[in-house]
Symmetry: C2
Subunit: 108 residues, 2 copies
DNA sequence: AAATTATGCCGTATATTTGCGTCATATCTA
DNA sequence: TAGATATGACGCAAATATACGGCATAATTT
């Protein structure tokens, strides 16, 4: 199985970003980080109906595609939005929106 | 398990659309439909490295969130982009891009 | 030094996704 | 009517995603 690598690379990249946004918990984390600027895992966990471990896992996924970044501060880790992935995903979102705009008229 | 329903409804809706876009095969199908305007399952299957059954399943998922629509034409089914879901998903994509724009500066 | 705190890593259980073959059905064609 | 064709529904296996508790670790705090 796992046939995703048989597709065009640009499609794979876009799919990866969309997957990162495909869970409400991760969207909530992103929104929280945008509003607060920076915060630690514990802060986010208190905002969500999930355990600390699960929140940590979602953060790792967001880190994996450079959407989120963490800097160690003693015992804590300060998380914030990562500018690298940010630019890329905004591009992907805008491109997709533009692409979909083309299909305004249904042909069947 | 399955805690997605504990989150804000708008986040759930957005996550649903992003999930629909989170597989390269579905992105390829959408692009193909935009380019050709309309086509049958068989046509799409020949473009993708997947079996007919699997392509049919991806089409069902796209239909489930009103991104794609199918009209029966004898033995065949003509698929095309569905204007209903199209408007909604474009909104979601644009909103997300705008939301992410706010986070231009990293705070850690 | 001992207790507290915040986190990462590991293992585990369940749920969902992905991918396919087979069968049934419905429509066209010869 | 018989055969070809296109599709949906069903079931199944493998891979991923989701969610969590427990343990280890490292830095503060007392």
């Amino acid at each position: 199985m796992a046939k995703t690598e048989l597709f065009d690379e640009s499609l794979q990249l876009a799919a990866t970003y969309f997957k990162a946004l495909s869970h409400p918990a991760r969207l909530a984390i992103i929104n929280y980080l945008i509003e607060t600027g920076t915060c630690i895992t514990g802060d986010i966990t208190e905002e969500l109906p999930l355990s600390r471990t699960t929140v940590g896992q979602h953060l790792q996924e967001l880190k994996a595609c450079n959407l989120v970044q963490g800097t160690v501060d003693g015992v804590k880790v300060n998380y914030c939005i990562n500018a690298i992935g940010l630019e890329e995903i905004i591009q992907v979102l805008r491109n997709m929106a533009t692409q979909l705009e083309k299909a305004k008229s249904c042909k069947c």
